[in-house]
C-alpha cells in the first residue's frame, strides 16, 4: 500500500466504500436525467442546429459569406480553430502529464477532461476544414499526388505539419480515453439490468474482466501512452503557433510563439475544465469526488499558466521595442492603441490581471467566483487569438490593403454552433459514460480517502503518547 502524508487533504470525501463509489458513478447513467440536463441539452442542440445551418450556407455559397476580406483573410475561422484546440490541451495535460508526475488528484477529473479534449478538437477541425474554401476537396491535405498526377503536398509548410499534428493528437487522445473507459464500461455492464444496456455496455467493454495480467498491461499501456502524449500535446500547439511564426508578418514572426501558445492553451483548457466540472459536480452530486481541493489545484495551474501568458505578452512588447524594427513596433502599437484596442484591453484584463486574484485562498476556493473566472479566462483567451490575427492583418505592410473587419452573422452562427455541438456531446457523455474514472479512483481509497486519512491521523496521534 502506498503511504501518503497526512498533511495532504483527502481526495475522496464521505468515507466511501468501493461499492458506494460504484453507486455514485453509475447513478447519472442508471437514473433519470434531471430537468437541468434536458434544459441544457435543448439549448445546446438549438445552437448546434443553427451552426449546421450556417455551415451548410457557407458550403453552398462559399466563404464570401464570412466577414473575412482581402486584407483580413484569416479571421474568426482561425481564431476559433486555435481557441478550440487550445481548450483541448488541458485534457491531455491532466491525463498524461499529471500521470507522469503521479498526481492523484487527476483521477477525479481526467475522464471528463479527456472527453472535453476530444470534443474540442472536433470543433477545431470544423473550422480548419471549412476555411480551405472548398471543404469537399479537403482530402488534398493528405499526402496524395495532386490531381492524382505527379505533384505532392509541400512538407516544408507548417500548415502541412498541422494536418499531421492535429490528426495524430485527435486519434491518440481518443484511444487513450477509450482504453481508460473500458474497465468502467465493464463495471456498468456487470450491473446492468436492462437487456439493451447490458448488450451495449457489453460491446463497449470489449469483454474486460479485470484479470491481474490485464491490469498489469493496462497500467503499462497507460504509462507509455502518457509518455507519448506529453511531447505530443506540446508539439501540437507549437506547430499551430508555427502557422503564424514562420510567416513574415510583423507581430507573428516571433520565436516566443511556441511556448507562449502552449501556456495559453493549458490556461484556457483548465478554465474550460472548471466551467464543465463545476456544473457536473453540481447536477450529478459529485461533490465528494470533485472536491474544493481539486478546484483549488486547478486554480493554481491557472495562476501559473496565466502568469506565463502575462510574461509572454510583456516580453513581446519589450522585444518589439528593443528590436528597433519599425514594422514590428508598429504592429504592437497598433494592437494596443489601434482600431481594435478594446480587444487588446479585454485580453490583457481577462488573461493577465484577473487570474492574479487567485493568489487569495478565499477566492480560489470559492466556487461561484471560480466559475465566473473560468468564463472570463476563456473570453480572454478567445480575444488573445483574435488580437493576434485580426488587428495584425488589417494593418500589414501595404497601407492600400488596410481595412477593417467585422464578423457576419454566419461567422457568429458557426462559432455558436460549435459551442452547441461541444455541449451537446459533453452532456450526452455525462449521461451515458462514467464521468469519473471509478476503477482508478478505487485504487486510491486506501491512501487518499477521508476514512483512511482520519484513521491514520488518529493512529499517528496515539503513537506519540
Amino acid at each position: 500500500m502506498q503511504h501518503e502524508s497526512e498533511i495532504r487533504e483527502p481526495l475522496i470525501l464521505g468515507k466511501k466504500s468501493y461499492h458506494e463509489i460504484t453507486e455514485d458513478i453509475v447513478r447519472p447513467i442508471e437514473g433519470k436525467a434531471s430537468k437541468y440536463w434536458y434544459m441544457l441539452l435543448t439549448i445546446s442542440i438549438i445552437a448546434f442546429l443553427w451552426g449546421i445551418g450556417c455551415l451548410a450556407y457557407t458550403i453552398g455559397t462559399g466563404i464570401g459569406v464570412w466577414g473575412s476580406n482581402n486584407g483580413v483573410d484569416w479571421a474568426w475561422d482561425i481564431t476559433n480553430f486555435v481557441w478550440w484546440i487550445g481548450i483541448g490541451h488541458a485534457g491531455t495535460l491532466i491525463s498524461a502529464v499529471l500521470l507522469l508526475f503521479r498526481q492523484k488528484w487527476r483521477m477525479a477529473i481526467n475522464r471528463a477532461a479527456e472527453a472535453m479534449t476530444i470534443f474540442a478538437v472536433m470543433c477545431a477541425a470544423i473550422f480548419v476544414l471549412l476555411h480551405t474554401g472548398r471543404p469537399w476537396l479537403d482530402y488534398w491535405l493528405f499526402p496524395l499526388p495532386n490531381q492524382f498526377g505527379s505533384l505532392w503536398v509541400n512538407f516544408n509548410s507548417p500548415l502541412m505539419w498541422d494536418v499531421f499534428a492535429v490528426s495524430t493528437y485527435f486519434s491518440v487522445s481518443l484511444v487513450f480515453w477509450y482504453t481508460g473507459l473500458v474497465p468502467d464500461f465493464a463495471m456498468i455492464r456487470d450491473r446492468a439490468v436492462k437487456p439493451m444496456a447490458k448488450k451495449i455496455y457489453g460491446l463497449l467493454s470489449f469483454g474486460w474482466g479485470g484479470s491481474a495480467r490485464h491490469w498489469h498491461r493496462f497500467e503499462e499501456v497507460s504509462l507509455v501512452l502518457a509518455g507519448l502524449s506529453t511531447p505530443l500535446v506540446f508539439s501540437v500547439h507549437s506547430i499551430v503557433s508555427t502557422d503564424f511564426a514562420t510567416s513574415v508578418v510583423p507581430g507573428w514572426h516571433t520565436t516566443i510563439f511556441p511556448p507562449y501558445f502552449v501556456a495559453g492553451a493549458v490556461f484556457s483548457g483548465f478554465a474550460m475544465v472548471l466551467t464543465l466540472l463545476l456544473i457536473v459536480r453540481k447536477i450529478y452530486n459529485l461533490e465528494n469526488y470533485i472536491t474544493i481541493k481539486h478546484v483549488e489545484y486547478m486554480n493554481i495551474v491557472i495562476i501559473v499558466t496565466g502568469s506565463i501568458v502575462g510574461v509572454a505578452y510583456l516580453t513581446e512588447l519589450f522585444i518589439s521595442w528593443y528590436s528597433g524594427v519599425e514594422y514590428e513596433q508598429y504592429a504592437f502599437l497598433n494592437r494596443a492603441t489601434g482600431p481594435y484596442w478594446w480587444a487588446y484591453a479585454a485580453m490583457m484584463t481577462c488573461n493577465v490581471i484577473s487570474p492574479q486574484l487567485f493568489w487569495f485562498k478565499k477566492l480560489r476556493t470559492n466556487l461561484t467566483f471560480t466559475f465566473i473566472m473560468s468564463i472570463i479566462v476563456n473570453i480572454g483567451m478567445w480575444f488573445e487569438r483574435f488580437v493576434i490575427i485580426v488587428p495584425t492583418l488589417c494593418r500589414t505592410f501595404l497601407p492600400s490593403t488596410w481595412n477593417m473587419y467585422s464578423p457576419s452573422f454566419v461567422d457568429i452562427g458557426i462559432y455558436t454552433g460549435t459551442i452547441g455541438m461541444f455541449f451537446t456531446f459533453f452532456l450526452l457523455f455525462t449521461r451515458y459514460f462514467p464521468v469519473i474514472a471509478q476503477a482508478e479512483l478505487k485504487s486510491i481509497v486506501k491512501s487518499s480517502g477521508q476514512e483512511h486519512k482520519e484513521k491514520h491521523a488518529a493512529h499517528g496521534h496515539a503513537a506519540h503518547h
Binding site: P143, A186, G209, V224
Partner: protein, 172 residues
Amino acid sequence: MSKAVIHAIFDDEEPLMATAKSFHSKGIHIKDVFTPFPVHGLDAAIGVPRTRIAITAFIYGLTGASLATLMMWYMMISDWPTDVGGKPSFAYYMNVPAFIPITFESTVLCAAHGMVITYYLRCWMLPGVKAKNPDPRTTDDKFLMVIETKEENKANIESMLKSGGATEIHHK
C-alpha cells in the same frame, strides 16, 4: 487424478495480497486474480512476468519514424523536387529540419496505435467478446482468486484461503 478449480472471493485487497504472497512463497500456483481496480504489487506477488508491451511501442515508433522519413524523402526529394518560396529541395539533409515535426508526429501515431492494438489483441479484448470475469461483482467491489490444484490438495488450500480472509469459496 482430477483437477480442482477453486474460486475464492475476498472483500478487500489487504487479505487478498497477504494470501497471494503466502501462497506464492509456498509454491501454490495462483492461476489468476480478478480485481475491480489495479492492485499494486499483486502482479508481482502472483508471478505475472513483466509485460513487453512497451518494447512493442518502441518498435512501432521506429517504424513510424522510418515510414515518415521514407515518405517525405520520396515525395519531396526524389520523385518531384519543388522550389517553394526560394527553398529548393536538393537533398534530404538540407530539408530535414522542416521534416522533423511530421517525423515526430508519425512516430507517436504509430507507437500509440500499434501498442494499443497489440494490447487489445494480446488481452483478446474486442467488441462482442464475452466478459472474462467469472463473477460480475469483481468489477464492483469483490476480489476473486482462481486456483487450479489437484483434488487431494483441495481441502488444505481451502482452509488456508478461509484463514487468509476469503469470504466465499466456490468450486468450478
